[in-house]
């Protein structure tokens, strides 16, 4: 039986890495999407972990939901990415400041 703290540390590291990936990544939108997936995975792992330790299946149900949403999100994200590329001929994150309005 793995000690819960070890698993939590691993997931926290994965989450932090993905966060750093989102913030520091200045070039590739695909990396950004990957980091988002990674973040969701870290959270999923936590859900599974707590579900196991607390003997509550609700956490595992959540994981299914999140996986489904993540799959959809990846599909839509990639679609948006392709559209952005078609539109702007770049997937460089630094050039994408349309949210400024």
């Amino acid at each position: 039986m793995l000690p819960i703290a070890d698993v939590l540390i691993v997931t926290a590291i994965v989450f932090s890495l993905s966060l750093v990936g989102i913030v520091l990544n200045r070039h590739n939108l695909i990396v950004l999407l990957m980091c988002v997936e990674l973040m969701l995975l870290a959270v999923n792992t936590n859900f599974v972990l707590f579900a196991h330790y607390l003997n509550d299946t609700a956490g595992e149900v959540f994981v299914f939901f999140i996986l489904a949403v993540a799959a959809a999100e990846a599909a839509i994200g990639l679609a948006i990415l392709i559209l952005i590329f078609r539109h702007k001929r770049t997937i460089n994150v630094d050039d994408l400041d349309l949210l400024k309005g």
């Binding site: 989102i22 913030v23 950004l32 994150v93 309005g101």
Partner: protein
Amino acid sequence: MHEIIYALVLFPLLGSVIAGFLGPQIGRAGAHWVTIIGVGVSFVLSCLLFKGIVMDDGATLNFNAYTWVASCSFQFDVGFLIDHLSVTMLVIVTFVSLLVHIYSIGYMHDDPGYQRFFAYISLFTFMMLLLVTGNNFFQLFLGWEGVGLVSYLLISFWFSKNAATSGGLKAFLVNRVGDFGMILGMGAILTFFGTIDFASVFAQAPAVAAHTTFAIFANTPWSVVSIICILLFIGAMGKSAQVPLHIWLPESMEGPTPISALIHAATMVTAGIYMVARLSPLYELSSAALSFILVIGATTALFTGIVGVVQNDIKRVIAYSTLSQLGYMVTALGVSAFSAGVFHLATHAAFKALLFLGAGSVILGMHHEQDMRKMGGLAKYMPITYVTFLIGALSLAAIPPFSGFYSKDAIIEAVHLSTMPGAHYAYFAVVAGAFVTALYTFRAVFMTFHGKPRMDAETKSHLRESPWVVWLPLVILAVPSAILGALWIQPMLFASDPMLGQAITVDPKYDVLKQLGTHFHGVWAMAAHSVVTLPFWFAIAGVAVAWVFYIWKPHWPAKVVKHSRWLHFILIKKYGFDDFNDLVFVRGTKRMANFFYNVCDREIIDNGLVNGSGRLIQSMSLYLKRMQTGYMYHYALAMIIGVLVFLLWQVLIN
């Protein structure tokens, strides 16, 4: 009976409204007819009342017409008090007003504002009637302000003339200073008496005077009645043009001459005299207020008269003589000779209206030239004007047996007998004033009607007597100017059943007229006795000096001026009242206003508060707008930092 009073007061208003609003429809003749009929009805009704109340000694009428304002414990009514005093005033006002209406037909003949003029003077008559018939302070004040308003409108009647509009403004503003005292006095009456009805105030007055004091400064209790009386008298000082609030009256001469006669000589300016006489039960309770009145009146009587000697505008000379005569009336009030004040008011109304209308006739003949240095020798061309003007002048100069002699001599003798503090000074002032009065009056007569003609040939060729509508009022006014004094002195001042009846209350210890009455042996004896009195010889001396300086040795005045330049300068500057006011009040106010405008308004409010908050927001937003970069990872980071902060916060709380 009540209907008579309503009709008496409202008819001039009716005439005014018709002439004012329907001017173009009824035309010029319509305007003067409708107003003359209105005032004529008032005059006839006043005479009826005079017969009924004064001559047949009818009962005093005091009734409320309706409640105007009722607010918790206070009630303001519109009501009328018709007693001997108000009926006497009614007759004087409507008589002079009627004559001035008639006179104006001739004087204003070519004026484009003909209907407007008649509407105004009728409105004035209405306001004046309201003032003298009111049975409470509120109505008195309404009339008081009403006549002030019409005075303003009429002084600036020729509104395209700069001097006229500024003269009107000055009259209005100076009167506001007086009204300030008036309003405070009325407020004090409401506070301490709880009512503003004359009768109830007088009933309570002795009790209030005996017990109520009021500390303006800590630990110095003042008698409430003294404070009220002085405050109300400040109102009278504004309206009756007493020093130092007299400065507006000479400027008011910019208005048409009939107005100067009606408003600024015969009626409106005597409103202050009327008010003090009406409130005699109150004033008798305060010797401090009486002394104050006495000193102010005596100062006005002498010093404004002296200024009249150096004026060259015929209307201004008469204006200064009005100031001086008002000073005499106020002096009479100050020595508790209220009846003598009202008596002088009556005779003055006649002879001063006559003098003004005579001056107007001269001005008409001279084609609106008012400078006496360009007149001279007019007696030959305008005989009726000359004779009537001369009667007015003799009356004003107090030459027996003309009206002015009786009223003015009564005042001088009353002041002589008075023991009021300040009476010695006042006696000196009124006796010296007798000389000055005769001097400036006859200076005007000699410069205008005698000597060599000094006008240009063009004017001279057009000189002739004015039309009958102008000279008829002069002749009518000359009659009371000559005989009113002899007729009224006995019933007004010395009769056991005096003409003013119970309207005047005099404390026996101040009753100088009663003492004077013991020496009174009929009007002719009084006139004959005057030749051994000082004021008579002073008046004769005044006439003689005027004759020497302006007929016999016409080059002397210039010599005197040369040798007493500083005195002449002071008089030309009118003791510097205008300059003082200009320096302190006008420029002081302007400077202060500039300070508030530049510093408080523009700097603090506009620049500091209004623009400042705008600038603050702008500079803050300069920083804040950099936060919106549009990069998604910035937002993500902000979100995560936010979540972390919340988590940390939760952890720290628990």
